[in-house]
């Protein structure tokens, strides 16, 4: 890889970035907005992004009267001399160059790249980034460094620091068709492989567990096929759970006793609840405690009227609430009473390092998804809080809860400003980092997510977005927004993403890696792994 020189720094300011005049012979077309370049200062090496490209002419008369019918010789001479291009370059990180005369300095210098604190002087050289530069900044593949793809112009793996990735909640965005669920699968594979966290995936559209046909007709493997018994499959749909070759390990039932007030309030829109519902439910809870929903649904018209008289609830409101909530009872996976044991077993599996995919099967309406995800997550959250407290008391490393990453799709339904304060997901996004639970939020409309939640996201992986508000939302709380906006707008619809935030030292546009046979091998998939049959030990542990 040659150190290809692109130009020299001719102007700049710390606040607005550097202006680089391109050398004659370097065309603007070989550069891309958002690509990674290096400025060689005297003492530091500056890892930078191209944020803008300008065309210029030394003599303004040339612009008003461009040469007509020019010979190729003259055109070639003028380009790069009288007419030239400058690029705006944003230094993002800098690395001190070792003083080669001093061997001690050479040893000390193993500190990684630092945030930029200054800019280079005039005529510092701008060059293409080399493999070594990428490795210096993004780390070498292996361990917690997971290769996400290659830079747009080069064939070098770019790594995500997964340990950092699971430390905070993260987001995957992109308009529909940009391969969000594919990206999520890629990242989750990395997390499983590197064992930095366990995953709980709410799989609304049955995309993660088993193989699935892509838009271009290929079949790609699911997580279960790659990782075998490390991945457990829970299903809400009994029929789906029994399909041969793709059967689930556990069919989950939800009991009316498990549904809480907050779950119902979250479903206000889906269930057509009136504003009075909250007050009525409050009264019901006061009266029947945990049994309130079951009791309400069991009451006859007369009993309900009687109860209203005694408790002071509005009869009309109560009966309409009862009518609306009957819809819950009609869902196949809802039973009158279910023990928490099934959910707790699931949490124990997570604790043993298993990864759980919860499939919704035919029950993939928004109602099902909101209700079950919220309910399950609430339980998970309670258990994790307990575990964390126990760990804080005992300080025994054995008690330390495993970091958990919960993947949710259509995230704006849980995290829109109207409900984000109430849903468990909103709470996790804002504060659960301390309990070792983080979210992987997947959405195509980041603008509908509560800005407070957006600003808490550690790492953002985003495919192409065109809607102005969505771009603004994704760039909330990110520095150098203008440079990144250009990079984001110039992404291709397929396979190209911009990654920024906690898990990468600086934002970078990538072509995502192929999800193919070579990838399965790299993830350690057993080639002939066919049967998803799982032993009792995988489900319930050694005992």
């Amino acid at each position: 890889m040659s150190n290809k020189r692109l130009g020299v720094v001719v102007d700049g300011a710390f606040n607005s970035g550097l202006t680089v005049r391109l050398d004659p012979g370097v065309t603007t077309e070989q550069l891309r907005i958002g690509s990674f370049v290096v400025v060689e200062g005297q003492r530091n090496r500056y890892f930078s992004l191209i944020s803008d490209i300008h065309l210029k002419a030394t003599d303004p008369r040339l612009l008003s009267d461009p040469p007509r019918a020019t010979s190729p010789f003259i055109a070639r001479t003028l380009s790069g001399t009288s007419t030239y291009a400058t690029v705006e370059v944003r230094p993002m990180l800098m690395l001190e160059k070792p003083d080669e005369s001093d061997p001690r300095a050479l040893l000390e210098m193993r500190r990684g790249p630092q945030p930029v604190k200054t800019i280079p002087m005039h005529f510092a050289e701008l060059r293409e980034a080399t493999e070594l530069d990428f490795a210096t900044v993004f780390g070498k593949e292996g361990g917690v460094y997971f290769a996400m793809g290659t830079p747009l112009t080069m064939d070098i793996p770019i790594c995500l620091n997964l340990a950092h990735f699971v430390e905070r909640s993260d987001g995957i965005f992109g308009q529909s068709g940009t391969g969000k669920s594919f990206l999520a699968r890629l990242v989750i594979c990395g997390v499983i492989k590197s064992k930095v966290a366990v995953n709980l995936i709410f799989d609304m559209h049955d995309e993660y567990a088993f193989d699935k046909q892509t838009e271009d007709g290929r079949w790609v493997k699911g997580l279960r096929q790659i990782f075998g018994p490390q991945v457990l499959i829970y299903s809400l749909d009994e029929e789906l759970a029994r399909r041969s070759g793709r059967n689930a390990d556990v069919t989950l039932k939800i009991g009316l006793n498990q549904i809480e007030e907050a779950d119902v309030i979250l479903l206000s829109e889906e269930l057509n609840l009136r504003q009075t519902a909250e007050a009525t439910i409050g009264l019901l809870r006061d009266h029947f405690r945990g049994q309130w929903l079951l009791k309400l649904l069991q009451m006859t018209q007369e009993e309900l009227e009687e109860w209203c008289k005694n408790s002071g609830a509005h009869a009309g409101a109560a009966s309409s609430l009862q009518r609306n909530l009957k819809r819950l009872q009609r869902q196949e996976y809802i039973v009158e009473e279910a023990p928490f044991a099934a959910l707790d077993d699931m949490i124990e599996s997570l604790d043993r390092g298993k990864h759980v995919i919860l499939q919704f099967g035919r029950h993939n309406s928004v109602l099902d998804y909101l209700l079950v995800s919220n309910l399950v997550t609430r339980r998970v959250r309670q258990r994790y809080e307990e575990k964390t407290r126990r760990y804080e008391e005992s300080k025994d490393p054995k008690d330390k809860p495993r970091p958990l990453m919960i993947t949710i799709e259509e995230a704006h339904k849980f995290l829109n400003p109207a409900v984000a304060r109430q849903t468990t997901f909103g709470i996790i996004a804002r504060e659960m980092r301390k309990y070792n639970v983080t979210l992987l939020v997947i959405d195509q409309r980041p603008s509908s997510i509560d800005p407070e939640v957006m600003s808490q996201l550690g790492t953002r992986i985003t495919g192409k977005l065109t809607e102005e508000r969505d771009i603004d939302a994704v760039l909330t709380g990110v520095s150098n927004r203008n440079a990144l906006r250009g990079a984001l707008e110039s992404l291709d619809t397929r396979q190209e993403v911009l990654i920024m935030g906690h898990a990468v030292p600086m934002p970078i546009s990538l072509r995502t890696r192929q999800y193919d046979e070579a990838f399965y091998q790299a993830m350690g998939a057993p080639e002939a792994f066919q049967g998803p049959e799982i032993g009792i030990r995988d489900l319930f542990g050694e005992d």
Partner: protein, 208 residues
Amino acid sequence: MRIGEIVETTSTGFVAESFTLNRPPPLGSLVAVSLPAQDMEIYAVVAYGQTVGLDPGRRAVRRSTEIVFDEAIYHEHPELKHILRTEFGAVLVGYLAEGQVWQHLPPQPPPLHFSVQTVQTGELQRFTDHLLYFRLLLSYNGPVSPLQVLAANVREVYRQRGSDRAWLDAAAREIATLLKNDHEALLTVLYAIDPGEASAIAERRGQL
């Protein structure tokens, strides 16, 4: 090869009388003055040429008749060789001293009555590998516009270097840099040194 003798000299250039009447060295060609005592070779670019009578106050008169014209006039009037003289002016562009080429003005003007010589191809290549002397050419003030002298020099060197296209491109870019603030002047030179379509086509064929 000796081609003339210096008859007027200054720090920036000299005027020499050509040994052959009516045939001064080509405009823009590189010539040299050798100073063996200082182990120095001074280079200059021919900036103009003229043929005049020995007596500066008298203009030449018509000599042709119905049957004697052009070359025949000189056979008819052999005395013309003694009353006419051809001069050329050259602008200093650098020198060779201590084995190194310098592209700035020499410390002293070349001595009067010293010989002016042509430059061998190898020497020419060595000198024109650097293009800093274009600046001296552009600052020259004489009967021919410096832009035309520069263009003539580029054409001449290009020819003598055996149609060295890479050199021509480098020279053109250097000129574009020097004339960056005067687009019209730049185009004047570029049009004058453009090797033309034929060469472009030949080059394309070469690439295929």
